[in-house]
């Protein structure tokens, strides 16, 4: 049985119905989608509607249909306790895959990873492998109850598996409720990026009539229809009403027609269920009442314990309850026909009975090794005596899942807080824990509200500092830098703190200060964090402080110093391990190496760092790796790959709701899109970035304003562009962060200011470049950029030519191309035309190879098309970039995305991004189609690099 079958099972004279009425449109849509999937297409659909409207039955029909079409089915009906059990929603579905498969057996193994990142990676690999053999339908019913880790998995896997024959169908209630926020957010997210949610509406009159006739098993007359008409077109309510009428003798079938007779017609769902209950024997009633308490499918043993009976005595009751259509017997135990029925039974329990049942249910849940939250839930409902035990259980539960599912852990602690009295001595500790967890779950507003509340209530300095640190981190992660600094300052003002705590506060403060541009203070705090962290053995804080100092040095244009800080932090993290390692200093070391033109080392560092963070499961770091890898690839002139990296970075940031990291990545995407001549993508990325900024996220001006200015300049409005970044020019001599990250930006900065007629700002940029070169005598790029800027200011072809020659010895091809282009432009009427033409040809060749189509177009407009160069080797699929072509060939070869990622040393998100591009360029949406295209066009099927 794939689903809990929602059958209307009646006693004598009535029969069960599995038919679906009034859903022809929906069934057609589902059939069409499944046929597509049988033919290789993926996709996702969310089904919504109120409880009892018939979602489950429709899903069941989808399952049957899939089975007919040879599609494997993995289904789960989530329920409330899923919330507390990381990954249970998805893992439960896959474990129940029909036909059975060994592919997902590892999910049941006790030694499976509990690190989310690794879990997701393995899940994805399994799904890819499975789906490349057989199409798969994954169905999640009552998806609003999905657990947090499953939610994360859906956000990653649904887009990632788009190219595989994997069809997702989620069904969820349409109503709002607090506890299931994670599930609802995810469903909204899925609905936004896919097709409109399919809303199941109430049944029309015709369907109601058919349903009634089918349920009763005879014709029905107007008395039945008139009464059923009062059920709001809700099939569950109608079926329960008919069952109640039947069981209370108020439904008479004579001459093949059913008529409602009788005096006490139930007029609400609650009364309907009560009438059915009252029509049952006492033992059956007790079974249903006891069974309503666990709020999950329950076993015979558990029911017997709750009822304090011998299991064997229960069989008649089970039979009667099943015959009455209230219970169904399924693989994982006995379950109510519908959760609304269970709720109605449960809510009808006398309080004393309910509390006693919860006390017993807590013991049973504990014996059955249920998640601690489930145990705590029972304890909390078992009356006053259970509260203290419940709080302890909740704290244990939170600790258990904090690393994997911080939002769940936060909810648990919040639960404990609610349960604890106003004057509970544990409150302060609980609050500090909750704030930290809320912060980790990106629920910063909640964290701040709760934290402020606790601060007002008076705490010991230790607790207060811990709380303030939590708040400072929360705000920092959310990009709310001034608030973060405020909390850190308040913490540092407290007396008697340990070095470790002070170090941690300084480290956060230092990073936040970098973003509000107080570099001196940031450096001082970073140094304090480093010193106190080492002395107080809080090495994570020392490492984090060191990386802040790296950012300060880089913003000041001291590339060597930046490298030294990053290298020292990395060395400390490697040596001390533990928390320090989780700060991932290689992110910043990679960046420092890129600034210094040490690209190979930078690449190795970033790859090693990324692998380490994947091993350690640092989801938060993923967007950062993508950001700096994109920067490195861009510097190397591999623009298509850089864009795929940035795109993947945005995806990972959004998936983990780390929106503050999506902003700089979108900035990168904008600049790359401009370079690649794709203004449409640039505009849409800009719109996305603006939406995020409107929510209060702040980011460095180099990422936000400079990106926007680049786009504006590309649309032919240099004045506007310069006006937008005037501040950036004005502060550049003091804060050459843009040039430090990318020395070659000096040329475009000067060109832009000159185009806007702003010689003064052009001069400022040139001065900043000059000073950067002077401060970093070892940097060939900085030296070249300074000459380049100077040459532009003086329109001096000789200088520009010299800049180009200097860039030639750096690994920055696009910088070389720009200098050559500028030299050619300046030397057009002054130098030997043949020589100028040579510069132009070389520049054009470089930008063409790099995919810098904006520059390519500009050069061709200025100097005419390229002279016939050496015949380019005929490559297949010319519309794809080299990186895309490699991915396409491997996918066509039957490799899964995870395998492609491994083969090409890319992150799997980057492969997804490439594949999306490939599909869109080739206008296809299935891997089989790609294989066909490749077979047709690339007979040799060779990788190009």
């Amino acid at each position: 049985v794939l689903f809990r079958s929602h059958r209307l099972v009646q006693g004598r004279g009535a029969r069960m119905t599995e038919h679906i009425f009034g859903r022809d449109r929906e069934l057609v849509m589902i059939r069409r989608a499944l046929e597509d999937t049988a033919a290789g297409a993926g996709g996702c659909r969310v089904l919504t509607g109120p409880g009892g409207i018939g979602k489950t039955r429709l899903l069941r029909a989808a399952g049957d249909l899939a089975d007919e079409l040879g599609i494997a089915v993995a289904a789960r009906e989530a329920f409330k306790h899923d919330l507390a059990a990381p990954l249970v929603t998805l893992a439960g579905a896959l474990r129940n895959c029909s036909p059975p498969t060994g592919e997902f057996r590892w999910l049941s193994r006790p030694d499976r990873h509990d690190d989310p990142f690794l879990l997701l990676e393995q899940l994805r690999a399994s799904l890819e492998t499975f789906a490349s053999r057989r199409p798969l339908l994954i169905v999640i019913d009552d998806a609003h109850w999905m657990d947090e880790l499953s939610a994360l998995a859906f956000r990653e896997l649904v887009p990632a598996l788009e190219s595989f024959p994997v069809r997702w169908i989620f069904a969820a209630r349409a109503d709002q409720s607090g506890a299931e926020a994670t599930g609802r957010d995810t469903l909204r997210w899925l609905a936004r990026r896919g097709t409109e949610p399919l809303r199941l509406d109430v049944l029309g009159d015709g369907a109601v009539a058919e349903l009634c006739a089918e349920a009763i098993g005879s014709e029905v007359d107007n008395t039945v229809l008139a009464l059923a008409g009062g059920c709001g077109g809700n099939p569950l309510r109608i079926e329960q009403l008919l069952t109640a009428l039947h069981r209370t003798g108020q439904l008479v079938v004579s001459d093949g027609t059913a008529t409602v007779v009788g005096s006490e017609l139930p007029s609400s769902f609650v009364d309907t269920v009560r009438d059915i209950l009252d029509s049952l024997s006492a033992g059956t009633r007790l079974l249903l009442q006891a069974g309503s308490v666990p709020a999950r499918p329950f076993g015979l043993e558990a029911a017997a314990r709750l009822m304090r009976r011998d299991p064997a005595e229960l069989f008649p009751a089970i039979d009667e309850a099943t015959a009455a259509g209230l219970l169904v017997d399924e693989t994982d135990g006995l379950a109510f026909a519908h959760d609304l029925v269970r709720q109605a039974v449960y809510n009808g329990l006398r309080r004393s009975v309910r509390e006693q049942l919860h006390r017993d249910a807590a013991l049973i849940a504990r014996d059955e090794h249920r998640p601690a939250r489930e145990v705590a839930e029972h304890l909390l409902r078992s009356g006053r005596s259970g509260t203290a035990e419940a709080i302890a259980t909740l704290r244990d539960a939170a600790a258990e899942v904090a690393a994997v599912a911080p939002a769940t852990a936060a909810d648990l602690i919040m639960h404990a807080l609610q349960a604890s009295g106003e004057h509970d001595p544990q409150r302060a500790t609980l609050t500090a824990e909750a704030v930290g967890l809320l912060a980790a779950a990106s629920r910063v507003a909640d964290a701040r509200r709760l934290g402020e509340e606790a601060l007002r209530s008076g705490l010991t300095p230790e607790n207060e500092a811990a709380l303030l640190l939590g708040l400072a981190e929360a705000c920092k992660h959310a990009g709310q830098n001034p608030a973060s600094i405020g909390y850190a300052d308040r913490g540092l003002a407290l007396d008697g703190l340990s070095d470790g705590v002070r170090a941690s506060l300084h480290a956060i403060r230092a990073h936040a200060l970098v973003y509000v541009d107080d570099l001196a203070a940031a450096d001082a705090s970073g140094a304090e964090a480093d010193r106190l962290g080492r002395s107080g053995r809080e090495f994570g804080a020392a490492v984090f402080g060191g990386t802040a100092r790296m950012l300060v040095a880089q913003a000041r244009g001291r590339l060597g110093v930046a490298y030294e800080h990053a290298a020292a932090a990395t060395e400390l993290a490697d040596r001390t391990g533990g928390a320090a390692r989780h700060r991932h200093p290689r992110i910043w070391l990679g960046s420092a190496l890129t600034s210094l033109d040490r690209f190979d080392e930078a690449g190795r560092t970033l790859r090693a760092g990324r692998e380490e963070s994947e091993r350690l499961g640092a989801n938060w770091a993923q967007p950062l790796w993508h950001y700096y890898t994109a920067a490195l690839l861009a510097a190397r002139g591999r623009l298509d790959e850089a864009a795929a990296e940035a795109d993947a970075g945005v995806t990972t940031a959004e998936q983990s709701t780390a929106y503050q990291l999506a902003v700089p990545l979108l900035g990168t995407l904008i600049r790359l899109a401009v370079l690649r001549g794709d203004l449409e993508t640039a505009q849409s990325s800009l719109a996305r970035m603006r939406r995020l900024i409107a929510t209060g996220i702040t980011a460095a001006p180099e990422d936000v304003l400079w990106s926007e200015a680049t786009l504006i300049a590309a649309t032919g409005a240099p004045d506007e562009a310069v006006a937008l970044v005037a501040g950036l020019y004005d502060t550049m001599p003091a804060r050459p962060a843009l040039l430090a990250a990318d020395p070659a930006a000096a040329g475009p900065l000067v060109t832009l200011a000159l185009a806007a007629g702003d010689r003064e700002r052009a001069g400022l940029a040139a001065r900043a470049a000059r000073e950067l070169a002077a401060r970093n005598p070892g940097s060939c790029s900085a030296a070249a950029a300074a000459i380049h800027a100077e040459g532009l200011l003086t329109a001096d072809p000789v200088r520009l030519r010299a800049a180009a020659e200097k860039f030639r010895s750096t690994p920055r091809p696009l910088a070389l191309a720009t200098a050559l282009e500028d030299a050619a432009a300046a030397g057009r009427d002054r130098a030997d035309p043949a020589v100028v033409r040579g510069w132009y040809d070389e520049s054009l060749a470089i930008v063409t190879a790099c995919g810098a189509r904006q520059a390519q177009g500009r050069l061709e407009r200025r100097f005419g098309p390229a002279r016939a160069g050496p015949p380019a080797g005929r490559t297949c699929l010319p519309q794809l970039s080299p990186a895309e072509r490699n991915v396409a060939l491997l996918v066509a070869d039957g490799l899964t995305n995870v395998e492609v990622a491994g083969r090409l040393f890319l992150s799997r998100h980057t492969v997804d991004s490439h594949l999306r591009k490939i599909f869109s360029k080739l206008d296809i949406n299935r891997r089989v189609e790609l294989a066909r295209v490749v077979a047709d066009e690339c007979p040799g099927n060779r990788l190009t690099t």
Binding site: G51, G52, N222, N234, S254, T259, V261, S263, F269, R351
Partner: protein, 412 residues
């Protein structure tokens, strides 16, 4: 196919029919609630016999508080029923208190005190006393009193436990299919005129395929009947007399000390199927009940539907089958008016004294009346909703009281 046990067996109904018409009557009344009973009694007053079918063979389970206005009482007096109805009145000496509260556990911000029937009968402020003052009754008691009168009337053939299942229009009347539940037999009744007084979920209306026009977007409500010793925690403890409490968006009423309470509570927009009345009363009203305290639950919507037609040929709709104001309105005036109006007009028709336009006037006038009453009800409910919204928005007590003082006190 059934050999009937009825009194007036007759032949007819066509050779193809398997069921022999069993009864013939000038007027068949479907439903013996307030409307159906009054209609039969009004007909009988004009010496027109009728058959009345009532599906239930027991009175309603739970009482609810209903106002019988003065005009209705006058109509009842014409039928000689005023005394019997007055005997069911709730505390005729006690004034009705309408307490408007922000929340149930807070002192009311405003109290309307409606004079008691006794006070009105004595006359107040120099005005002449009304012929019949209004009465507060339990809807179930009222229906039972009327049903008693119907059962006792020689011209009325009351059939309890009989259900009307279908209608067939004929050139000079209507043939109704009915089921005698106790005997399990089906019969046909041929009637010159038929009146559907069978309530909100009217079978007659469905048979006629008459649609219902709603006043606006309907919101789901729950009516919960419950026992509670000290409800509400208002100042002064339990109410002394008939009381209605309007707290936030909900309405509570009780007939007096020791009585059950009836709460009308709006459901949230997305709660299509309520399963937890105890939780609902706790969340909305701060009332702590235990499950057994809840005696009954009814789900309804406040769409205030009015049937698009009150008449099809020789079949008529009257009472709640024609207009669904219950339980929002808490009054029976519109139903009483329907019954009496239809009663004397049908009687005239049966006696052959009626112009065809007279019967047509029932549908026109009473539908118009229903629309007017609906408009008044919409305004009264809007007052409650606005009060609820103001209270929820945290308006201070004096603002709330000022708002209510500007509203006419009858708009409960």
């Amino acid at each position: 196919m059934h050999s009937g046990t009825g009194r007036a067996t007759m032949s007819g109904g066509g050779a193809s029919s398997m069921v022999t018409p069993l009864l013939r009557t000038p007027v068949l009344v479907v439903g013996a609630g307030v409307t159906g009973c009054l209609l039969a009694l009004e007909l009988a007053r004009h010496e027109v016999p009728s058959v009345v079918l009532e599906r239930a063979d027991r009175p309603a389970r739970y009482p609810d508080l209903t106002t019988v206005d003065g005009r209705s009482m006058e109509l009842l007096r014409r039928l000689g029923l005023a005394g019997a109805v007055r005997a069911t009145a709730v505390d005729p000496a006690g004034p009705v208190q309408v307490l408007w509260s922000r929340r149930l556990d807070q002192a009311p911000v405003h109290v309307w005190r409606l004079p008691s029937p006794d006070e009105l009968r004595r006359g107040c402020a120099g005005e002449d006393p009304p012929v019949e003052p209004h009465l507060l009754v339990s809807g179930a008691d009222l229906a039972a009193a009327l049903l008693g009168a119907v059962a006792a009337h020689p011209l009325i053939d009351l059939r309890t436990g009989w259900t009307c299942t279908d209608l067939r229009p004929e050139p000079d009347g209507t043939v109704a299919s009915v089921l005698d539940a106790a005997a399990g037999t089906r019969h046909l009744i041929e009637a010159r005129y038929l009146a559907g007084c069978d309530g909100t979920h009217s079978t007659v209306r469905r048979c006629l395929a008459v649609p219902v026009d709603e006043a606006g977007r309907a919101a789901d409500h729950l009516t919960v009947t419950f026992r509670h010793p000290l409800c509400p925690k208002q100042k002064g403890g339990p109410p002394a007399g008939p009381t209605m409490i309007i707290a936030g968006g909900s309405t509570l009423s009780c007939r007096g000390p020791g009585d059950v309470w009836v709460a009308q509570v709006p459901l949230g927009r997305h709660e299509a199927t309520a399963t937890d009345p105890v939780g609902l009363l706790r969340d909305r009203l701060g009332l702590e009940l235990d499950a057994p305290d809840v005696l009954g639950v009814t789900q309804w919507d406040d769409g205030l539907g009015v049937a698009s037609h009150f008449r099809r040929g020789t079949t008529f709709l009257a009472g709640q089958s024609a207009h669904r104001f219950h339980p929002s309105s808490g009054r029976v005036g519109t139903c009483v008016g329907d019954a009496v109006d239809l009663g004397w007009k049908l009687a005239a028709a049966v006696h052959g004294r009626a112009d065809p336009a007279l019967l047509a006037s029932y549908a026109d006038e009473r539908r118009q009346r229903a629309l007017v009453d609906r408009e008044l009800l919409v305004r009264a409910l809007e007052t409650r909703r606005r009060f609820g919204r103001l209270a929820a928005a945290g308006a201070p007590a004096d603002v709330l009281a000022g708002f209510l003082r500007r509203e006419p006190p009858w708009s409960i």
